[in-house]
Amino acid sequence: MSMPFYVSPEQVMADKAEFARKGIARGKSSLVLACDVGIVMMAENPSSLQKIGEIYDRIAFAGVGKFSEFDQLRKIGVRFADTKGYAYSRDDVRGRSLANAYSQAVGDAFTQQMKPLEIAIVVAEVGDDSLIGHENNAIYRVQFDGSISDHEGYCVIGGDADDLMDFLRTEFRPDMPLGDAVGLGRTALQRSADGELSVGPDNLEVCLLERDRAGRKFVRLASDRIRELLGE
């Protein structure tokens, strides 16, 4: 009878993390920026398979990495939010609770499954002045191992996320006009495109959580609108 080799838990975790990191870094970045009218979410994405999606009235989702995996997470989030809103009220559906649930689920998958999820996601929630205690925006990032962090103003996932975060740390200004925010997002995404001017209205996916819109605040911007915002 053969004995299985002993592998230390540290080694297992390190291997899994490296595997997931590689998978995520291969893809392109997605980013989230707060601006004067709400929160804008952007990804370089020439395909019709969307990386950004609506979750609930004030909440949206952005994912990077393996499409099938983050898209499944998006759908799980929609089911979570709709069920909660149905059982309680629409105002009871909150970004933090969703981000925590994601963190638990992704963390469990990381420890229990052979293959970790090759994803990173952002949950963005636009503030609502009529909801006391929830007037401010909230941006949460959940990594492949379930680690969760909250971010003020901006956040990047996937690709050269660290480099882009550094770039935004110096360039980001609170309450930028929407056009400036989209321009800044484009410049940031451009950084990982090897300096070529290749990120434009035709391969940008841009969605907006619009603070002053009633009810469902999520809007997907058409390429004409993106062109207009970029001043092209």
């Binding site: 609506e54 149905y86 998958a109």
Partner: protein, 267 residues
Amino acid sequence: MQFDAKYRGASFAELLDVDYPYLRPDWTDLSAGFDPALVPHGTTVLGFKYQEGVVIAGDRLATAGHRVAARHMEKVYATDDHSLIAIAGAAGPAIEMARLMRIELEHYEKIEGEPLELEGKANKLSQMIRQNMPAAMQGFMVVPLFAGYDLRRHVGRLWGYDMTGGRYEELDYEATGSGGLYAKESLKKTHKKDATRQESLAMAVMALVDASDEDRATGGPDLVRGIFPIVNFCTRNGIDRATEAEIEQVYRSLLAERTTQNGRGAQ
């Protein structure tokens, strides 16, 4: 939140049935012999086509047997930006159906990334009514109207249903609920498809007043309390609800007209 949830489709009602059955009350166990008249019922709703799309309207009264259960009931609900449901029948299950319908359409759109066609929405409602059939057999009947603006065909559309979920697309007008017959008789005389918004408002108010005149369970405009019917217009640009002031004006001129025509104001 779970990865091992069983349901993977795009329907919210099915999601509840499969993964959250405790959130879906089962009306089939209601003991026979319970008097359905004890629960509030919504009474009259109507819909018709007009120049720019479709109108859908309802009175505000809910009745339980001979008793007024609610004076301000809302019977017309937007199910999304371009469709509406108007409910009649047992109020509890009917309101639940309208609410579920709204979430269903939103849920589908979010999961699939694009909305259902108007026809698909109307069909979904059919299934919901069919599911309510066991409860309907015990007196908790829900018979809604569904209307919307078909953005692909550029036309307002209207559907009536029966208690088995039978779905009938109406070309002109339809009404349902206890006073539905009278509302329909009124619309039969007044309806014209190319009516303007203002003319349509007058037709809708007149039909509801006629229904409340003949059917005691239907509430007409209440000038004492300032309660007016709900009249919604659904066009290419979305849904637009007539203001109470507009309705009051139309109602007052209808009253004046009927009073002068016949000394006692009765017909």
